[in-house]
Symmetry: C2
Subunit: 350 residues, 2 copies
């Protein structure tokens, strides 16, 4: 049933700049892995989810930001959806569709810790990878638990047209908040305002005064800042925070990789923290597994009610995964970028 070889991307060189070079990744061939123990499944990759946050794991092991990282492994992985092809696991049968962390490869072997079966009744299969999956959880946990979002507040989201940002922005809209999205193209601003229904958008590449724009748009200041980028955009928002404002540090794509060498500098905010009684909190969604059932239930309800729009950019072919990943850093996508490694059941001609 399976092909004879498995194609696997390996990191042959750690990226240096923010944007990885294509040459960092090399497609290698190996035999399709065999199950060697109980409670394993062999999975044929259907979709791989491209997350900018993976960049921070493409570093030597000593620099990884996460304790349970695969950084330093030669192969590289992403959240993905696969179809079970072989199994020694009592809970999974051949043909099951599962979500887990998959190598950038045709096949991977997963065990309990990584595996989650997908209920295909509620939504299209790919939504389980973003709006109804990991991406949705990140947005939900960040907005509800970390930001403690309250109805009617003023909310700013950076990288607002990105996968997490677009869901976070919509959650704030659902909470009847006034929502301002920051993004880097007029197309994205148009998407945010006219498709997602966000109140205002700021194109940080064409304005010369983000803080001034915010001051004008948000006369009552900013209660919650959902920060995906860090750096100068965040400085501008910090200066417009309201008393008791909360800053959710979800990402820092503007600074990624800068910390290996000299850490970039910026204005000190110690005085603002006191003056405005600000709280800034970084989080990793895996620390909040107890909230997943609530998150999934709310996200499904909103999704079913057409309150959560999303866009996908589908890149076909495993061999194009590095380009799809690099594209995240060139700001050319709206919503979630997925690589289709093989077509899901029902869409196949085989």
């Amino acid at each position: 049933m399976t092909e004879e070889t498995n194609r696997v991307f390996e990191i042959v060189e750690y990226p240096e700049g923010e944007t990885p070079d294509r040459e960092c990744f090399e497609l290698q061939e190996e035999p399709v892995p065999e199950l060697t123990d109980d409670d394993q499944v062999l999975v044929r990759t259907l979709y791989l989810r491209m997350d900018p946050g993976s960049r921070s794991k493409m570093v030597p092991p000593e620099d990884t930001p996460y304790e349970d990282s695969w950084a330093g492994d030669e192969s590289v992985g992403s959240g993905g959806i696969g179809e079970v092809r072989e199994t020694t696991h009592a809970d999974f049968s051949v043909g099951d569709i599962v979500v887990g962390r998959l190598r950038w490869a045709d096949y991977d072997v997963l065990t309990d810790d990584d595996l989650e079966e997908v209920d295909l009744d509620s939504a299209p299969i790919r939504a389980k990878l973003h709006v109804l999956g990991h991406t949705g959880r990140v947005a939900y946990v960040g907005m509800t638990e970390i930001a403690d979002l309250q109805e009617g507040e003023t909310v700013v989201v950076s990288s607002a047209a990105g996968s997490v940002g677009s869901i976070a922005s919509q959650i704030a809209t659902i909470y009847d908040c006034r929502v301002i999205g920051i993004a880097g193209t007029d197309d994205k601003i148009d998407y945010l305002v006219n498709e997602l229904g966000i109140d205002e958008g700021i194109n940080y590449k064409t304005t010369d005064d983000i803080q001034g724009d915010l001051a004008e748009i948000c006369p009552d200041s900013v209660d919650v800042y959902y920060d995906n980028v860090g750096g100068e955009i965040s400085d501008a928002v910090m200066n417009e925070m309201n008393t008791h404002g909360r800053i959710v540090q979800c990402g820092r794509i503007a600074l990624i990789n800068a910390e290996g060498g000299d850490r970039p500098t910026g204005p000190r905010h110690e005085g603002l923290y006191i003056k405005k009684r600000l709280r800034r909190e970084g989080f990793v969604v895996d620390d909040h597994e107890e909230l997943y059932p609530e998150a999934e239930s709310m996200l499904e309800e909103w999704y079913t009610n057409d309150q959560l729009q999303h866009r996908e950019t589908i890149v076909e072919g495993l061999e194009n995964t590095p380009d799809a990943f690099i594209g995240l850093f060139e700001g050319d996508g709206i919503g979630k970028t997925l690589v289709e490694v093989s077509k899901p059941p029902g869409e196949r001609n085989d």
Copy 2:
């Protein structure tokens, strides 16, 4: 009963540097104020408490960090203790001892909002101005509510020999935490370790590597950082924070006044917030009045049990108030500096 004139310090020039010049303050004379309305008391000042945080209020009104500040007033004030000399207030009688915000003056008129009667049974009168008063509340609220301190954690306190710092450090010790105090003289380190029983001290003026010292002293990293200073000392501690660490932004004396002009810069910590899931929170104790009864009850219990040591530096004479205040910034005091404007009842010869 009262003298004919009231001496009052006024700010004749806003300070420019971190440390105010003596010339910024001028002692002027006016008639002793009269009560002009109901619910007022005329208070003879006994003690004025010198707080470095007052420096941030000695700025033009538009730069004040606090909404309810007296900044921009020409006279300048502090927490203080006074004796009621005249009263139109049903709750206060002549001879009562009260705590409130007092001008740097012989006499002041206080109203309900500023007034609190002191119970003289539980402790010496001056303790109500620091360990059992405002200073104790700041340390208690910061450590318990903002830091959410847990038994057995590793805690770093900057400006640890200062009034808030020394109480915060001792609260952490009472919580069976491992406590490291940062201060700027060997005398202060000696005081922290040998009198207050803090585990370790770091003299930031004689070490060339605060972060290295911390790494050695705290192999399990830092769970709570009670920050009174900001700036480079705080950068060093940030780099040694443990996963889920909390940074309490109580003060920023290293940066005070710098924000009027160009804000100082420092390394960006966005990556650390995510990697270590850090939470940083600024606070102003007045926002937490609901915790005052609990704070006072705990502080009194610890004080009575000899678990809270404190030192006072008493400066005699209203005319020396500016020098006492300026001394805070020259790092020459341990514990709380109080100005004795007039002797309390029982210590007077009149």
